[in-house]
Symmetry: C2
Subunit: 414 residues, 2 copies
C-alpha cells in the first residue's frame, strides 16, 4: 500500500463535470488500496476573476495581505467541492485549507515560502481511511494571517506535503501526458520521456518547457520526492522525475531534451574598460529596474577593453537599452547595440557530464544547416546558443535528430 | 469616542461600486473619531451561486461540513475587498475571517451557534487605530472546522461582536430606512419608528417584518446591545431597538406596530375526546413531519369533546391535512377540516401591558369593517387574529388608523 500525493491543477478541476471525473479517478486509486492526499488549485479562471475584483477596488494596487485573504478562497471552494464529490461516491474524504493543515509559511504575502507542515492531522485522517483534500497555493504565517505561495504554488504545496508525509510518489496531473524531448508542436517526432532527473527537469523548465513550476522541482529534488507528470484524463505512465541513478545512467542517452525560448532579446556594450567591478556597474542598474537577466557572456579582453553581452525578456528590451546607454556614457564604453528579437536553443542532459564532444556535435549540426551562432553559454548539463529567431524551428529539429531523440516514424505525433 | 459595530448586508456590498460607497461611509465615521468594527455578508448572489455549485456536485445533498468550507468563502472575499477599499482611502484597516477572530461556535454545520468570541486581537487592532473588518455568518469549532451560522447569520455575528466588545451601538445597514409601524406597501401612511423595544421587535420580526434576523434581536436583548436599523445609502437616524425604558414608556403609544402574515393556512379537528394528552397526540405527528405550527387554539370542552385548531405555513397544508385525518381516526375525533389560505394580523406593543381594553378596541375596529374573526391568540405584548385572506389589507389599514399610527398626511409615503 503506497502513500501518494496527487495534484490537480485549475483546468483539471475547471468545471463540475471535471471535478466529478477527478473524483472517479481518485476512487479507483483508493480501491487499489493506496492512501491518497489530493492537492487542488482554484477552478480555472477563478483566481483571475478575484484578482480583477481586487484591482477594480484599488485602481490596480491591492494590499498584499488582503489580496491573499481573497485569492485563497479560490482553492477553498475547490477542496469542498471535491470532498463532496468523493463522499457522494462513498469515499470518506475531508477538506483542509492551508491554515487548517497547517502549512506554516513566512509572511511574504503573495509569494510566501513554506517553513513547516504539521502532518499529524493528515496522518490521523489517512489512518481513519479518509482521502485528504488540501488547498494548494496557500498557507498561514505565525500570526495566523493567510498567505499565498504565488502563481503555480499548488505544485509546491503538493511536493511539500509529499516530503512531510514521506510519500512514495507525488503525482502532478496536467493537460499533457508527460515531459517531452522537445515541444511536439515544433518537432512532430518528439518523444515522451519515461524518466528525467531533477536537474534536467530544472534546466528544461527554466528554458521554457512549462510543465512544472521550477520551485516545486527544486523542492522535490532537495527532499528527494519522486515526482510524476501525468495527464488528468488520459491513461498512461507519464514521466517520472527522480534523482540521477548512476547505474542506469550508462544506458541513458547523452541528451534528454531540447529546450528553447523565443521571448528573448540581446544587448551588447562594446569597448568596456576592462577594470574590476565593471560587470556590476553594467548589470546593477538593470536589476535595480527589476529586469531579469538570463544569459551573460563576456569574452577575454584585448586592448584593455572588452565586450559584454546579455539577454533579457523581449518586453524589457526598450527599458534595458535606455539604462545601458546611460551606463555606457558613465563608464566610458564605446557603443551599445542590441537585437530586440533573438531565440535561445539549449540541449539538456546529465549524460553530457561523462561524454566529451557534446558541444561540438551541437555546433556541427547547426553549421550543417547554415545557422550562425551569436552567443554560447554552458553549464554542467546544458549548452545554450543564441541564434537568429527565424532559424529557431530548424535548429530544434536538427538538434533533435542529431542527438537521436526522434521517435520511430510509426510513433509520430500529429 | 464611541465604539460602534456596523453590519452591511449582501445588497449593500453587492458590487465594487457599492463597496466603495460603504468605504466612504466608514471613513466619515472614523473622521468623527469613532472606533469601528465592520461585519459584512457575501456579495449578493454569491452564497446562492456557491450553494448551486455544491448541489450540482452532489445531486442536491452536499455534506454540511464541506458546504460550510465553501459557502464561507463568500464573506471572505468581501472582507478583503472592503479592507482594500479602506486602505486605499488611507483608513488603516484589517480583515478577519470567523476562524481568525476567533468566533468559536458549536459544531452544528450550516446552523452553528456562537459560544465565545476572543476580543483580544480586535481590541489590539482598534487600539492601533485600525478599522476591523470581520466576515459575518461564520465561525470555527473547537477542532478548527469552519462553521456557518445559517442564513441571515451576519446580523448575529454583528450583535455577538458588539456584546463581546461592549460596543456603544450595533448598527445594521439594510435597504430600508428603519422599522415601520406596518408595511408601507399596504398602508401608505405607515410611519418609521424612532424606537422600539427588543420584545416588540421580536414579535414584529416573527410575524413577518423581515428587517432583522430574529436570532440577532434575541441575542441583542439578552446582552442589552442597542441595535439600530439604518439605510445603507440614505442619511437618517433609522430605528433604535433597545430595552423597555420604564420612564419613557408613559409617553409611548400603546401599540407600536401592526404585523401580518399571508402565508398561513388553518386546520381544525372537531369532536376531540377531552382527555389528558390529546393535544400531544394531535401535534406530535405534525412536528415529527417537520411541520412548524404557529398559532394553536383550543377552547373549553362541552359534552366531553373539544375543537382544536392550529395554523401552519401554506406549503405544509396538504401534508398536515393528511396527517391530521389519520390522527382523527386514531383518537376518535369527529371531523377534520381546514382552510388552505388565511391571513393573520397582529397588533404589537409593550404599551398594552399597562392599558386595558386594547384587544376589544382591535375587535371593534375589525367589526366596523365587517371583518369576521376566525381565531384569536394573545401574548403579553401582542394580540393576533386570523381572518379571511381577502380582508388582509383592509384590516391592517383599519387597525393602523384605530391605534393612531397614521403619519400626518403631509408625511405620506408613496
Amino acid at each position: 500500500m503506497a502513500l501518494i500525493v496527487q495534484k490537480f491543477g485549475g483546468t483539471s478541476v475547471g468545471s463540475v463535470e471535471r471535478i466529478q471525473q477527478v473524483a472517479d479517478k481518485i476512487k479507483k486509486f483508493r480501491e487499489r488500496g493506496d492512501d491518497i492526499v489530493v492537492v487542488v488549485s482554484a477552478m480555472s479562471g477563478e483566481t483571475n476573476r478575484l484578482i480583477d475584483l481586487a484591482k477594480q477596488i484599488t485602481d490596480g494596487r491591492p494590499v498584499p495581505r488582503e489580496l491573499d485573504v481573497m485569492v485563497s478562497t479560490g482553492e477553498q471552494v475547490t477542496i469542498a467541492l471535491l470532498a463532496m464529490a468523493l463522499i457522494k461516491r462513498d469515499v470518506p474524504a475531508i477538506s483542509y485549507t492551508g491554515s487548517q493543515v497547517r502549512i506554516l509559511t513566512d509572511s511574504s504575502h503573495t509569494k510566501a515560502r513554506i517553513l513547516q507542515i504539521d502532518d499529524q492531522r493528515l496522518r490521523a485522517d489517512l489512518k481513519a481511511g479518509r482521502v485528504v483534500v488540501v488547498a494548494g497555493f496557500q498557507g498561514v504565517d505565525e500570526q495566523g494571517n493567510i498567505t499565498t505561495l504565488g502563481r503555480g504554488g499548488s505544485d509546491t504545496t503538493a511536493v511539500a506535503l509529499a516530503a512531510a508525509l514521506k510519500a512514495d510518489e507525488c503525482q502532478i496531473y496536467t493537460d499533457v501526458d508527460g515531459v517531452y524531448t522537445t515541444d511536439p508542436r515544433v518537432v512532430s517526432r518528439a518523444r515522451r520521456l519515461e524518466k528525467i532527473t531533477f536537474e534536467e527537469m530544472l534546466e528544461m523548465a527554466s528554458l521554457g518547457s512549462k510543465v512544472l513550476q521550477i520551485r516545486s522541482v527544486e523542492f522535490a529534488g532537495k527532499y528527494n520526492v519522486p515526482l510524476r507528470v501525468l495527464h488528468s484524463f488520459k491513461e498512461g505512465p507519464g514521466t517520472l522525475i527522480t534523482i540521477d541513478d548512476e547505474e542506469e545512467s550508462m544506458e541513458q542517452p547523452i541528451i534528454s531534451g531540447i529546450a528553447f525560448n523565443r521571448d528573448e532579446s540581446k544587448l551588447t556594450i562594446r569597448g568596456v574598460p576592462d577594470t574590476p567591478g565593471v560587470a556590476f556597474k553594467i548589470l546593477g542598474p538593470i536589476s535595480a529596474a527589476n529586469i531579469e537577466v538570463d544569459m551573460i557572456v563576456q569574452n577575454v579582453a584585448h586592448d584593455n577593453t572588452t565586450d559584454f553581452t546579455f539577454t533579457v525578456n523581449q518586453v524589457d528590451y526598450d527599458n534595458a537599452l535606455r539604462i545601458l546607454e546611460k551606463t555606457a556614457s558613465e563608464i566610458g564604453a564605446r557603443v551599445v547595440h542590441g537585437d530586440p528579437s533573438i531565440a535561445k536553443v539549449s540541449i539538456v542532459g546529465v549524460g553530457m557530464r561523462s561524454h566529451a564532444g557534446v558541444a561540438s556535435r551541437m555546433f556541427e549540426a547547426l553549421a550543417k544547416e547554415g545557422i550562425n551562432i551569436q552567443m554560447i553559454s554552458t553549464s554542467e548539463i546544458k549548452v545554450s546558443v543564441v541564434i537568429e529567431e527565424k532559424y529557431l524551428e530548424l535548429a530544434v529539429r536538427a538538434l533533435h535528430t542529431a542527438f537521436e531523440l526522434d521517435a520511430p516514424v510509426s510513433q509520430e505525433k500529429n
